[in-house]
Symmetry: C2
């Protein structure tokens, strides 16, 4: 098989994780998810954090307060830890993509890999109602609309900050699928059919 | 075949017309395009306009000046002609959809038909570079970026005004395909595969 790099960007609660896993299984290639975050943390020596703190550290830049504080306290040339994280993450993603085929979930991989060959960028999304139902089931409690909007905002802010692009803008992607009416399995198959067509047209 | 209603919303210059035609051919169903506009014009008695004037009349509402003027001069209960056009268009689209399967190109059909059964809403788009190349070839002259932006603005304004939704927002659609790297023929096939999966899941 020709090398295949698939990036999956997904709206929070759209069940995109299952699509990414199914794709990696079907193609029998590597699947890269938040582990990239752990690798980056290890690289910069902050790997002693628990899961929650690590996630918080990663998204921290989206707080203007912390950003301002960091700028004030930073010496010239100093890179705040959250920027170091993103930088290391990007290096790791590009390195992994160099090794061979893989499916990359989140982590702005669509942007990080955009100049490489054989990259297919996918955006998965869903209606709010679907996402709330899915998240409530996953967490075993009622997930509220305001929590959803807050999570959306965090991801949007993170993506926009690091890529200079607009989160959810379909122009950044090759294909966008609404998960509201399609199973993850069928969505993965559709993406494979899309890739096959692209290959054939080359 | 179960009744199938496909709406194709496309970014200007994305070659979406060919996809809509290919879909109608492959499914052997009716294809509805700007003719709906002519039918609406006839209905309200403005069918003596040439193609360009008709198109202008249709999009006129996007001018704040004309809109303001119309409000100023309108008597209570008076509906400006461009609103009448949209109203008639919508009625015609719903009527046609009632008859049987069909592919609907543009005319906010995604919004007009959204509460009907068996509707599949597709958004087609492409990179600016692709669109400029395609439009320049079609018109036999260099199509400029500022002309493209102006056309985008007109369509956006029209769609947003009548639907209350945001033009190009992928949340309004079931599937969105970037035409930059896919032929209209293959895109039509992908949409058919998508519809098949949706049917199977029902």
């Amino acid at each position: 098989m020709e090398k295949t790099l698939i990036t999956i960007s997904r709206q929070y609660g759209s069940d995109g994780t299952k699509v990414a896993q199914a794709l990696a299984d079907k193609l029998d290639v590597w699947y890269y998810n938040r582990d990239v975050l752990h690798m980056a943390a290890e690289k910069i020596g902050v790997d002693d954090l628990d899961e929650k703190s690590l996630e918080e550290l990663n998204y921290r830049k989206s707080s203007r307060y912390v950003e301002g504080l960091s700028v004030m306290m930073g010496t010239p040339g100093h890179i705040p830890v959250y920027n170091q994280m993103f930088k290391e993450q990007s290096k790791i993603i590009r390195k992994l993509a160099g090794y061979g085929s893989g499916v990359f979930l989140g982590r702005c991989a669509d942007y990080v890999l955009k100049d490489m060959e054989n990259v297919y960028t996918i955006y998965l999304y869903a209606d709010d109602e679907f996402r709330l139902k899915h998240l409530s089931e996953a967490e075993g409690r009622e997930f509220t609309k305001s929590e959803l909007k807050k999570e959306d905002k965090t991801r949007e802010s993170y993506y926009n900050y690091y890529t200079g692009q607009k989160w959810g803008d379909v122009q950044n992607y090759d294909l966008a699928v609404n998960m509201t009416k399609l199973s993850p399995e069928d969505c993965a198959d559709l993406i494979l059919e899309y890739i096959e067509k692209r290959r054939k047209e080359k």
